[in-house]
């Protein structure tokens, strides 16, 4: 019983806490924390999107920073030409990300395992070097964004505006993922992770289901890019470099792959740790690396133990039912061998 309650209140509590951040930051006179947590929320959104392919479908996309970059440059390049209408920028970001995801996904999903990882990485690096070479848009130095996205009713003109926009989008994305996970599409998607051959044998197209998930994920990551561009007022090739893709994966792994709150907890934990260790020493990576390794080793699925343990309990509670059947049969998988 209590497992239902725990899962049900975890998400509202998390979002209420996040909603308190700007007020607390104002109260203690540290507006820097609003900017910092706005960044956390943006990365949580990207991690949430990556969770759809990596957590649910088990596809290790090592190129998701590409979509962050595309979102950023949609804002940057349009502003460069004088278009600061936020809806237009968002529309272009979504369309471009959907198109790129469709093409990249169609190629990558014909492979699996290492092949998939390497091809997604290759595509992301392609876009990275494309932007490095585009000197019109700043090339290596990046592109300053002088005007914030204007959404008519509101402008993403400051950290708090971006913070609240990211908070709302992340909440919507989290609710969407929670619904999707239990929906027929989500079930089939997760099933492709467990046993793609059997999914095919039921007449579903594993390829199409995974491609749909990859496109949704790419678009959502692009939205995170639009927010990031407004937060930093900057678009840089470094936003789409492979370490960013790696960071997203690490966030997911420490937060709990395939769980609903995992991306948020992972992004918070990762970026807070990074900020904390950066404050301690210049060689913060030397501490951060081992800490992440320890988290990954000690907890089987990062902070996913929060949810995993509940599942284990429920499984134990039901085990006696399964045990009623002759134990003899359970112990003899003899027929498995051909």
């Amino acid at each position: 019983m209590n497992r239902v309650k725990l899962g049900a209140w975890l998400i509202p509590v998390l979002f209420l806490l996040l909603a308190c951040v700007p007020f607390v930051a104002q109260a203690i006179g540290e507006p820097f924390y609003i900017t910092f947590f706005a960044r956390v929320l943006v990365y949580a959104l990207a991690a949430c999107a990556l969770n759809l392919v990596l957590g649910f479908a088990g596809l290790v996309s090592f190129g998701h920073a590409m979509f962050i970059g595309l979102g950023c440059y949609a804002v940057g390049i349009l502003t460069y030409y004088g278009f600061s209408d936020g809806w237009l920028q968002l529309g272009v970001a979504v369309a471009v990300c959907a198109l790129v995801a469709l093409v990249v996904g169609s190629v990558c999903l014909r492979t699996s395992g290492i092949g998939f990882i390497m091809i997604t990485l290759a595509f992301a690096q392609m876009f990275y070097f494309l932007m490095v070479s585009m000197t019109t848009f700043g090339g290596d130095d990046g592109l300053n964004i002088n005007e914030p996205s204007n959404f008519g009713l509101f402008e993403l003109s400051g950290s708090s505006e971006v913070y609240w926009a990211a908070w709302v989008v992340l909440l919507a994305a989290t609710v969407f993922m929670a619904r999707l996970k239990k929906s027929p599409f989500g079930m089939v998607l997760r099933a492709t992770h467990i046993n793609p051959r059997r999914v095919n044998a039921f007449g579903y197209s594993v390829f199409r289901v995974q491609l749909a998930a990859y496109v949704i994920s790419g678009v959502l990551t692009g939205v995170a890019g639009v927010l990031l561009a407004n937060l930093t007022a900057f678009a840089s090739p470094s936003y789409m470099s492979w370490p960013v893709s790696g960071d997203l994966i690490v966030m997911l792994v420490i937060g709990g792959l395939g769980t609903i709150v995992g991306p948020i907890i992972g992004a918070v934990a990762f970026l807070v740790m990074e900020e904390f260790f950066k404050g301690l020493t210049q060689h913060w990576m030397l501490i951060m690396g081992p800490v992440i390794v320890v988290i990954a080793l000690l907890t089987r699925n990062g902070f996913g133990w929060l949810t995993r343990q509940r599942e284990a309990q429920s499984a134990q509670a039901k085990a006696p039912v399964a045990g009623e059947v002759p134990a003899k049969a359970a112990a003899v998988p003899a027929g498995e061998a051909q």
Binding site: F176, R179, L180, K182, S183, P184, F185, G186, M187, V188, R190, A191, I194, N195, R197, R198, V199, N200, A201, F202, G203, Y204, S205, V209, E311, S314, A315, K318, A319, V321, A322, G323, E324, V325, P326, A327, K328, A329, A330, A331, V332, P333, A334, G335, E336, Q338
Partner: protein
């Protein structure tokens, strides 16, 4: 539901130099329960993989209800009602029994745009899944995560999933493999209740099951059909006795 048959013409599958399926011509009549027996390594599972389209045949043809399907993808044949169960249990371990069966039962509806409503809210699918779970004696464990199921129950779920996907033709690959005697008896009863409602191709080592269920039997040895006939004909076929049943079969 109209019953349809399944036939192969001179089907060949080579793995390197080995002819795993060597000119198999089979005729499975609509509504018939046709058993295939044969020693280990005779190519029984390969034959099923060829029929479903998971393996591509090198030569010969496959017809489902008169339509030539060799070369078509798995989806197309599933769409025509050709469903299989696996000898090596292939169920979705992280899901509950009912979720597993629902996944199969959603087949015809498809999952396009179905991203918002939970699967458990599709009343017709759930109802159908529950009926099949009851039929397969899995009612008590409907909400159990299947990795916690006993071996025999996992085998039953394997068949339940094939049944839930609206089959017209069922290919059952050793549904009783590894079952205890009691479970085996229950499984035979289940298959008996399916007989006549579907066209069934049954691969099974359990001779009791085969002889009590089958309308006709084919014997597969080294990729070749050596005999096809009624139970009596197969029992008395000299080559079959030598190849498969052993000389003490008449005892």
């Amino acid at each position: 539901m109209s019953l349809i048959g399944l036939s192969t013409q001179n089907l060949v599958k080579r793995f390197g130099g080995l002819r795993a399926t060597d000119g198999v011509s089979l005729e499975i009549r609509p509504g018939e329960l046709h058993a295939i027996i044969g020693p280990n390594g005779a190519g029984k599972t390969t034959l099923i993989n060829l029929l479903t389209g998971e393996l591509r045949s090198d030569e010969g043809g496959i017809k489902i209800g008169g339509e030539e399907v060799s070369g078509t993808p798995v989806q197309h044949r599933v769409g025509m009602g050709l469903l299989r169960s696996y000898q090596i249990t292939s169920i979705f371990d992280a899901f509950t029994v009912i979720e597993n069966v629902c996944l199969a039962a959603m087949r015809k509806r498809g999952v396009r745009w179905a991203v918002w409503k939970p699967m458990s809210a599709y009343a017709d699918v759930m109802e159908k899944a529950r009926a099949i779970i009851e039929q397969c004696h899995l009612g008590e464990v409907a909400d159990t995560v299947v990795s916690n199921l006993a071996y025999g129950q996992r085998r039953q779920l394997e068949v339940a999933m094939a049944l839930a996907a609206d089959p017209k033709i069922l290919l059952l690959d050793e549904p009783m493999a590894g079952m205890s005697a009691a479970e085996g008896a229950a499984a035979i009863e289940l298959l008996r209740s399916l007989k006549g409602r579907y066209t069934i191709l049954l691969i099974e080592h359990d001779m009791n099951a085969v002889f009590s269920l089958a309308d006709r039997i084919s014997v597969l040895v080294y990729g070749k059909i050596v005999a096809t006939g009624s139970i009596e004909e197969i029992r008395n076929h000299p080559e079959v006795r030598r190849a498969y049943l052993g000389d003490d079969a008449d005892a």
